[in-house]
Symmetry: C2
Amino acid sequence: MKKFPIVKSRRLRSTPYTDRIESQGVSSYTVYNHMLLPATFKNLEADYQHLKQFVQVWDVAAERQVQITGIDSAKLVQLMTCRDLSKSKIGRCYYAPLIDHEGYLVNDPIINKLADDKWWLSIADSDVIFFAKGIAAGKNFDVEITEPNVNILAVQGPLSDNLMVKLFGEEIRELRFFNFKYFEFKEKKYFVARSGWSKQGGFEIYVEDNIAGQDLYDYLFEYGAEFKVRPGCPNQIERIESALLSYGNDFDNRDNPFEANFDKYVHLDSDVDFLGKEKLKKIKEDGIKRKLMGVKIDHDKIDMYCEKTLWDDKNNIVGYVRSAAYSPTFKKVIGIAMINKPYWDKKDQFKIDINEKIFVGTVCDLPFI
Amino acid sequence: MKKFPIVKSRRLRSTPYTDRIESQGVSSYTVYNHMLLPATFKNLEADYQHLKQFVQVWDVAAERQVQITGIDSAKLVQLMTCRDLSKSKIGRCYYAPLIDHEGYLVNDPIINKLADDKWWLSIADSDVIFFAKGIAAGKNFDVEITEPNVNILAVQGPLSDNLMVKLFGEEIRELRFFNFKYFEFKEKKYFVARSGWSKQGGFEIYVEDNIAGQDLYDYLFEYGAEFKVRPGCPNQIERIESALLSYGNDFDNRDNPFEANFDKYVHLDSDVDFLGKEKLKKIKEDGIKRKLMGVKIDHDKIDMYCEKTLWDDKNNIVGYVRSAAYSPTFKKVIGIAMINKPYWDKKDQFKIDINEKIFVGTVCDLPFI
């Protein structure tokens, strides 16, 4: 596939780490929340192999925060998600699909509860701030909604703990998955969560001060040399193998949470009030006709820039692949696809057109095994 | 400035015309409303010179539509903008800043009134659909809000009328600026507006059928050969010379409409109800402390990827340039800048750092003269 350069501008925001990743050899970008997000360094597969063995530092400032504070903040946050947050605790991270009043998906942030009246929604690629502001205006809520200057550095990979201990001390090993706490390094405090957009283990550091973040970036590389640390980024192969969904790729505002397999986060029996609750009850009652599943395709490469159709032998549509990559682990192309109900249990092969050649594949469950 | 390739995906949507512009030599992209928007073909200056002399066809599918229909649609659209739409007419286009309940800018769409209960907001680069859905949910409005499959082709440049007449007939010359109407070509009807993101004259064709749009694209080039038609795109030089503002570049959700010079669209004395009205009255009463103005800099190039600071002789901050380009017309770098009040009337020179060298410039009114 021919490569096209991206033209930078203030509108496609750089991050506090952009100069550093460019001097370290970032080789391509995507755009995420109106901000540059690195997509590759050496290349997709080399980055993948390194991520699975060692430790990487990621500029994921593009994971922007929507900060909601004020008396009605808990009410507003709850209205936006079908996940029951009534028992949520300070210091915890909650993966939570956001739903509009029609029952469609808006985003799938990590919701960090900093206080009963202070929340950070760490968002995927859509302007959640305007959804929140719209609801707040419509409901006359007493809240303040802003995008704070938070620029996340992720430390990901199996050696993440070793590296983080060298900076923040042994105590950081005790931080549990999807918990966050402030830790100190060289007299600065950093919001650290055990989380991240890979399944290789690691942390996300929600940096609130640009200069401190740049210093931290440099120290992570200095202290990380013994662990073969490298710059990295969310890796398309790893995230698909790990079945980590991507808003805009795998699902969007035309899909409901059941179609995206978010059933365990849809709390219809709870007492809490959220947008689209009645619509979702109806959808659940009627049953869905398609859902996200895995696919494996007998080929060694694929370029994705729109969804690709899957057909059966009679040329009926099986579904649409939305993300895919060659997996060195499965030695096939694997992908995340919206599959029509008649094919959920089928073991039959489907056909797919890749660069004007026909290949075959099969539907499978997520996560891939 | 080093060039970095953009990695395509379903999330950075291609358009129905992407294959065509790539075969015609598009040379760089930006991303706008989660979609690929071409940024250059030959190069910025060659594209600019051609646009000012001839006619170009632009893939501006990234100018997405937010369609609002239903009983409460007019009420919702009015709530979103400080421009009084109470006397708006079907078949007209209205440039209208959208404002949140705090008085900050959300977007600056062209609002097309298709019927009393059917509106298309042709948006700049932010997710207006979620702002509209949030308000509608909060207010319990009876509306339907969708992103229809509309992919705009713009025909821009001084020879636009000549080309459009060959397809749609002499009648199209009668279409007035910021009016729209359906016109027929080869038995298909197309929504055509006299509008576009340049000041070189032209039309925007709101294509509602992908195949018809691709046919139209090809015919525009076939019929346009005699006018030296070329593929093009919104041109950074031309749009700055013409002082056409860009959301995310020149202003954003931290700016109010007075700071962005939208005074004539802020109808505080009207009877209509819109978000942020009281806040805007207060802001107007207090007076603003900074506003968008032009700058001219004695240099022949500039790369913009974030705002650049302007200083005076005593190292006080004059303001920040947000967009800039070398202008072959003014033979200087020209830009759009947020200028602090003490410098609105100053004729003194400011200093700016471009690639670690200091250059001087002056503040001027917009549009540039």
